[in-house]
Symmetry: C2
Subunit: 427 residues, 2 copies
């Protein structure tokens, strides 16, 4: 049995392996807070009702000692899990000494150095459970909507975005780089499979330390043939709403552990407000945040704009100069592109960037020249416009930002089991 | 609409975007083989029944031209998809010229250079669909069995297996390596979450070219607290059987495209035969393949052993000298370890390696000395035995080998969208 299954065993004697998180004693009764990874339950021992050996063993248990416990499951409406265990037997696996993470406050660096143990804390466990639920909601959404999962390569000969923030690798006699985005490959896959999505790690060698950045982060990148800008937005708002609703449905105890404002998540329903870049510039002006047309928003701008709405918003039609080379210009106004960033509410910033892609081979060749991209390295990408080009769109969701928002965290470092940051490669 | 949804639109007029794979004409009738990524359907035009413009447009279509087609869906019991389209309208998006992959035979190097286009071939599409189904069956199995998905880091300070086949990266001022396995991190996660699994890319800088190896390959690595060697095997056979049964249930047309022997897959049901390493040595001897005790099996040995059985087999209890440092010795016979490799039938070789892990802190410290592992770099891993150690087990499934086996492929290079091999980093 596992603790999460306790409800199916009320009145029965069960045995399971677990760890002690805390022990309290009041003379003739001992309370053991137990965890097994699947959940938490309180074990209760009454001196009169257990053998002397079991009573003594329980008394020796320290924080994070491991044990097999036997007992009768009882309903306990007061307890958080709804059940408790009347302990009848107890086999010690290991008495743990000097567990580093005590109930007292620890600094972040200390906790990060002990990330392998910190993960056992209820708060960290709750975040990991929500992260996993988000991922399974992502898979469910795309499976149910006719997408095929495709894994783009991690080792690539060149960068998708032409930036310099790349990790270099000697790939035998060649130079390779860690991927920053699988998008270009996903475009090829969409021409073969219609609607595709990826879920995998991406890397940015950015020498910055902010609460929104990781060096190694996971992206979900759907790409869809025969889908235009407008349909792209409709899919995104349905997608994000689905993910949030799945977390609300399945992770209530975890959200409570994190003291997340549930009402803010319950408002995440389509349609999401759409504002153009131009409108956003005007709104910022009204808020006293002047920004010249053509400049990109920073985190404070995004937070200010998001603050005017109660759910995620789309900012659309950015100037082409601040967006990626492959975005399709608006036919009615070619100085802006058919793109949208999705900005999460409550100051969590951009969680999605997406666009309709250029499908015209000549325009794409032009962009290559403007951006000094090597037509040789990207020959295959140009081929997609040469051989049966079609209108297509896609987007990329940053998983850790999304986890951060849904969990209501201050910093992305808690959104992944073993974060990789500037000066942080251990454990 | 998409082609896969044609069955729900019989008798209706539908419009969808697609590509032409082949056109045949017999005077007054044209047959268009159409694909949209979700499936294939034949479009039929009768000269008398369509406008001259539509007839002419159809006549201009070349292989991989892109178009929007309109027509009435009709049942067609002779056709592969069961439906055909009586074309009434046709809008050309692009007439493709000189599509490189023609119906004639091409060499493998040529096809690999054009992988971005080769993916459009029905055979490649079938493999990608089966791969995606395998992955979703993996997720389903673990979700339904109480596992939490955890993403271990890709960038690591040191190697899990102590080998030299590592890709090196300059991580700002530190040295980092691409992961070869997430297992050690998954052990930490299992102590926090009970049962966990990972799905992610791993890397091996091996200068070898075989039909079973990729440089970049995806692994599924479950790790389970309070699970011993025997239970580990039972979970593995249920897991692999579930994956195969899901493919059989959902991918029949794709398996037919690949001309896969379905009967061989239908035999994949638990229990899987278990033979010890010692028995395997004896069986090889009987087959005239002498191998001294203590040496590892090569591909020919695995194929010979698998050939004696009709489903995957476990080879258990290998000598500790040829297995990883963290495997738990058999208490009854400490020169062998509580491990198992799962060998796929039909010569596809090892698809799973797994074991119970050492949980004794002193024995683990000894192994560290024997294997010259730095206690500093692995401090966190030693901590897992120091603070609440518990019996635990896990395994790793190589995704591409599994896809290769289930699809019945000669070479792993077709099991992933953009394979990375020695001398192959493009596209």
């Amino acid at each position: 049995m596992t603790i999460s299954e306790a409800g199916a065993h009320v009145g029965q004697s069960v045995t399971f392996g677990c760890w002690l998180t805390r022990r309290r004693s009041s003379g003739k009764i001992q309370f053991l807070q137990l965890r097994d990874g699947t959940g938490f339950i309180q074990g209760v021992l009454t001196k009169e009702e257990v053998s002397e050996e079991v009573w003594d063993h329980a008394g020796r248990l320290t924080q994070e000692s491991s044990l097999y416990v036997t007992g009768i499951v009882r309903e306990d409406p007061r307890g958080k899990s709804g059940y408790e265990l009347a302990v009848t037997g107890l086999e010690i696996i290991q008495i743990t000494q000097d567990y580093p993470i005590t109930p007292k406050e620890h600094g972040v660096d200390f906790l990060m150095d002990h990330r392998h143990l910190w993960l056992r804390a209820p708060r960290q466990r709750a975040i990991m459970r929500i992260r996993a639920r988000i991922i399974s909601a992502v898979q469910q959404f795309f499976d149910e909507n006719g997408f095929t999962l495709v894994d783009p390569p991690i080792l690539t000969p060149s960068s998708a975005e032409g930036t310099t923030e790349l990790f270099h690798i000697k790939y035998f006699d060649e130079d390779a780089y860690l991927t920053q985005s699988g998008q270009l490959y996903m475009e090829a896959a969409a021409m073969a499979l219609g609607k595709v999505y990826s879920f995998g790690p991406t890397f940015r060698a950015e020498k910055s330390k902010t609460r929104r950045h990781l060096i190694e982060f996971w992206m979900i990148e759907p790409e869809m043939a025969f889908v235009d800008h407008e349909e792209n937005l409709r899919i995104q708002e349905r997608f994000v709403s689905h993910v949030v609703s799945q977390v609300l449905e399945h992770c209530r105890p975890e959200l409570e552990t994190l003291e997340r404002d549930i009402a803010a998540l319950e408002r995440v329903k389509p349609p999401f407000p759409r504002i153009t870049y131009d409108e956003a510039i005007r709104m910022l002006q009204e808020l006293g945040m002047e920004l010249p047309w053509g400049e990109d928003f920073g985190a404070p701008h995004e937070t200010a704009l998001a603050g005017k709405f109660d759910r995620p918003i789309f900012i659309t039609h950015y100037p082409k100069g601040i967006k990626a080379f492959y975005m399709k210009p608006d036919p009615k106004r070619p100085e802006v592109v058919l793109c949208a960033d999705m900005i999460a509410p409550e100051g969590y910033g951009e969680i999605i960037g997406g666009s309709q892609r250029i499908d015209d081979p000549e325009l794409m060749a032009e962009r290559f020249k403007e951006h000094h991209l090597s037509p040789e390295a990207y020959q295959w990408y140009l081929d997609l416009r040469r051989y049966g080009t079609v209108p297509h769109s896609g987007f990329g969701l940053g998983l850790e930002r999304t986890v951060s928002w849904i969990c209501g965290l201050d910093h992305v470092r808690e959104t992944i089991a073993f974060p990789r940051m500037l000066y942080r490669l251990y454990p």
